[in-house]
């Protein structure tokens, strides 16, 4: 009789432990959902560190800096019409698609996001930042600013400081590099083509759902 009650109590205990273990299986799933702390995301969002100017970007492209990926988050149609040299098109709606994760979630390259201005790029940036993707930057002003500063720079007026003229010289030279021709200058026949970087997508093996511990 005594033995019997002992076994039933053990059984009850075992059931309790099994239920607790099942609870552990559910736990990590909820955490996966979260991303970084909202407070941290806010502090990242406040800092203007993420912005990169068109001048800096132009210099990086011309210098063939190998350390960054240029990502165009506009629609495929806009990308076909005009894209910055070497850019890869990842439309905002397919930002989370598996094919592009290898581009966005890596630590080898800096990622420079751009759109027509910087609204869409910032949306993408905020989302990627929540998922704790590293080294993401936003092109300040986007393609419109690129046009106004690099492709079609404004000539400084005479009263402006020398630095404005230096900047204009750089921008004019840059615009020639990117294919704009000025009458009177000897044209280069070849516009250099910046090769697209291709990151091989590693196919992940589908793992069985992991439990806790």
């Amino acid at each position: 009789m005594k033995n019997l009650s002992k076994t039933t109590s053990y059984r009850i205990l075992a059931v309790v432990f099994i239920i607790a273990a099942a609870g552990l299986v559910l736990l990590p799933k909820i955490q996966k959902y979260q991303g970084i702390d909202p407070e941290k995301l806010l502090s990242h969002a406040i800092s203007p560190e993420r912005y990169i100017s068109t001048d800096e970007l132009a210099e990086m492209i011309i210098g063939q800096d190998p350390s960054f990926l240029l990502i165009d988050v506009r629609s495929g149609m806009d990308y076909e019409k005009y894209a910055l040299p070497g850019a890869i098109n990842i439309p905002l709606d397919s930002l989370l698609s598996e094919n592009f994760e290898a581009y966005l979630n890596q630590e080898e390259y800096d990622v420079v996001l751009y759109s027509n201005d910087d609204f869409k790029a910032n949306q993408a940036w905020l989302l990627c930042n929540r998922m704790d993707y590293k080294n993401h930057k936003v092109l300040r002003g986007g393609v419109n600013e690129w046009f106004n500063t690099i492709i079609n720079p404004k000539e400084p007026s005479e009263s402006m400081p020398a630095s404005a003229f230096e900047q204009y010289d750089f921008r004019k030279a840059a615009s020639m590099y990117f294919g704009v021709a000025y009458p009177g200058k000897v044209m280069e026949t070849e516009v250099p083509v910046t090769p697209k970087k291709v990151i091989p997508v590693k196919k992940k093996k589908k793992m069985p759902v992991e439990g806790g511990c």
């Binding site: 005009y82 905002l92 989370l96 027509n116 989302l127």
Partner: protein, 202 residues
């Protein structure tokens, strides 16, 4: 004797287990803010165009929030907007203010001098599930100390850049046709080497 030792062992184990549970409970800190929206859901909701309002869409039902600094706010702000500067948006008091506005079934509209700051506020509050908010697409400027509010076109592309480049190339070609002279090839006279008899080693 043996039975006694067994119970002793069991009680030690229980005490340890209970201790672990208590320590676990004590060290567990519930985070203040938790995302209530998954990343995928956020992506879908943020790509819809309804997130952005223009100036004339503001009505009595919109709850305007100025996310600039209090200094800029005191210099001038839109009508009945309240001020919550972006760095303080997650403080208890401000979250409560936003929640109250939601309860009064008002639409929260963020604005700032930089539309991206308003966007940051919007995305954060939306993802935390406190409210469904919007961004006001405006440009704020001062003219003679008066705040001037202009509508801002988000993500439009006024220029066809490829066309601009092609046009510049065409124009330059048209002007350059006369000027381009063939560069004369430089000819370097080659000295003929005398053939030497093959020399052996040593």
């Amino acid at each position: 004797m043996k039975e006694l030792e067994k119970t002793k062992n069991i009680s030690v184990a229980t005490v340890l287990a209970i201790l672990v549970i208590i320590i676990g409970l004590l060290s567990y800190k519930k985070p203040k803010h938790i995302y209530s929206e998954s990343v995928e859901a956020t992506l879908i909701s943020m790509t819809s165009l309804e997130n952005v309002l223009s100036k004339d869409k503001i009505d009595d039902n919109s709850f305007l929030v100025d996310v600039r600094t209090s200094f800029e706010y005191s210099k001038g702000h839109i009508g009945n907007a309240i001020n919550i500067s972006l760095p303080d948006i997650l403080s208890d008091q401000n979250v409560q203010r936003l929640k109250d506005a939601v309860e009064e079934s008002k639409t929260i509209v963020f604005y700032s001098s930089d539309v991206n700051d308003a966007l940051s506020a919007k995305m954060l509050i939306d993802q935390l599930g406190y409210a469904k908010t919007k961004v006001l697409a405006v440009e704020l400027n001062y003219e003679q100390d008066e705040l001037v509010i202009k509508d801002l076109n988000i993500e439009n592309s006024p220029q066809d850049i490829q066309a601009f480049i092609d046009k510049s190339v065409k124009e330059a070609e048209a002007k350059n046709i006369v000027e381009v002279k063939p560069i004369p090839k430089k000819v370097i006279p080659r000295k003929k080497k005398k053939k030497m008899p093959v020399e052996g080693g040593c």
